[in-house]
Amino acid sequence: MSDQHRIALLGGPSTGKSTYLGALVDALQMEKLQHLRLAGLGDDAVGLQRLADPLLGGHYPQRTKVTERLSLDAPLHTAGTYFDPLSFTLRAGDYAGEEVERLFRDRIHGWSEEWKARAFSSGFLLLVRPDTLTRLPRPQPTSEQDERERWRLLRHEPVAEPSSVRSGPAPVAPTNAAAYFGPLPVEEVPPTPRAAPSDPVSVPTALSLIELLQFIRHVRGLAPGERPRAAQERFRIALVLTAWDTVDSSWRQAGPAAYLAHHLPLLEDYLWSNFLQEDVFRFGLSATGGDLNDASYSQRYLEDPSGFVEWWEAAHGPHRSADIGMPLYWLLFGDRALGAP
């Protein structure tokens, strides 16, 4: 493995990039990451010095301005015996989330050298914030009404009560693959259910992220729809749902994969079409474990800064870890990371 790992954080405005980086830096300094340790300061320690500052004051970082971007540039080594010994420099840059949107709208000036360099990162953390998604959660099975019934509904004729009206739990990821093949670390993304006639139609919110991924693949020489298979072409994408603590409990039980399939089906389709399943994984992350805008929680956080990560495995069901480095471990070490103690 090379001695440099550049991890790119991708995400629109207010998706929690700075918060996650800040929490990671603090966890590294407090030796709260189970499997990674700082191996010195390196030449540029400004990121280490300043990224965690706001969280140490018990509040969220201000939105990143273009002139104030910081990057994490940290020499690290693995700790413990679970992963093979490895020393490397982790580089993860922060930037204003508006840049992603600007890149989508302004094709003339946005695709900077910095973005092109970022495209060659060894792994990508794709941050999505659930409460910025416009699609409303629908934690119940939806209708399978056929087209003819839908036309009757438009005529205001009575039709059989659809099953969707009954409330129920959020869909759970299927376990049939595990039942047949035995334990598999690859998660199963459940299909998006058919919408009920009265469900809103939403403008997809992830178009700028998808376009960015298309640009990244283009720069890396990957054709559309080509799932990279050769070792030198493959890279991992960790889809991270931030502020996971704010998500409805039924969705949290269903897991990040089910949540994304329901709320960002276009992004899920894109990832399914362009990557091997084992190169994409989905996490729910609460970098601070709760809402720092709540004064009492902020006080508790100052006393014991902690967050958590949740994910769903087809073979083993839901998992939770207090180690917020888990998405990072997965980017670095793949599915083996999911079994880390």
């Binding site: 094709r107 003339i108 998006t192 919408a195 006639p197 139609v201 997809p204 276009l266």
Partner: protein, 365 residues
Amino acid sequence: MALPPALQPPRCNNPDCTLPEGGRCARLAEFPNPLADCPDLARTTTAPEPPRETASLSAPWSGRHLDSVEVERLLSRTPARLIAVLGPYNAGKTCLLTSFFLQLANGQRASFPYRFASSLTLHSFRELMERASQWTGESAEDIVQHTTVGADVLRPSSFLHVGLRPQDFRDERHIDLLLTDIPGEWVKDWTGRVDDVSGRRMAFIQRCDAFVVLADASALMGAAGGRTDNETSLLVRRIQEMTRDMRPRPPLALVLSKFDRVIHSVLPPAPEKRTERTGWGELSNRLRRTWLALEDARREQMPFSIFPVSAFPHRMAQGQPVGVMDPFTYAMEHADRRAHRKPLHTLPPEEARGFATLRRWRDEP
């Protein structure tokens, strides 16, 4: 004293800018005096200037509608499928395309057996979707803007692009789907007369894999319904004529658009009866000329089917469209027809663990 070099008309690198043609600067909000300040605008002199370095900062593609040259390039590089979406002015062509993409984006593929894989025109799709999301539900109001094709008459930008992957995971193909988004006036001109201009504009017809023809169901049922029927029948006949030498004949999906506006008078027949004239009640009388044209097409081995569609029966926040994916499913069934080998039905032994079984099988002498 030498005179300064003469100023040339301004050029702009921003594809949304129409200022050089006397229109509006795309970045007017940022630069109130674009002629003086906008960095996208280049006013050259007759003296050669060093090349601008914006190219290196430009994104790999514009995200807007593709023009004919870009489409030609794509068609020569990949076995792309081209579906012509045709119909008179205000038939709902762009609404259908917008709703189609919205359904894909909302995970509502229904019977459409493909998943989204890429798009070179995401920016255009978003503009269309955002515009549609602002529609208040008033039928007199435009849901999306009427289609124009940009300032460049020689290279009109009139194609939307979606890359698709068959939802069968074993099928590794990426299929480029090109959809025409052209003004109804062009269709009308071409239906009436194929001359140099209309022939050039509609040159893509010869390369089409399927046709989606729209007829406004509410117009058909209205006082001037005969005119809509006539326009539609002539369009069907024009397509039939222009594709006579193509083998296999590309299919034609007749979309009866805005069906929500006639749903109280006509309930669409079951899917298997849609090509039977008797199933459409009052509408079959209103489509007399079109039926004759379709029956002619059928005699010439041109497959067709009819689809009731309501792309925007209400505001987007109030509910789903009906029938939008069906004509595209039908078109792709034909356009993406290929021989499939039968899958091997080798059942693993009972209690076998799949991967281990395969490994043992391979190791057998």
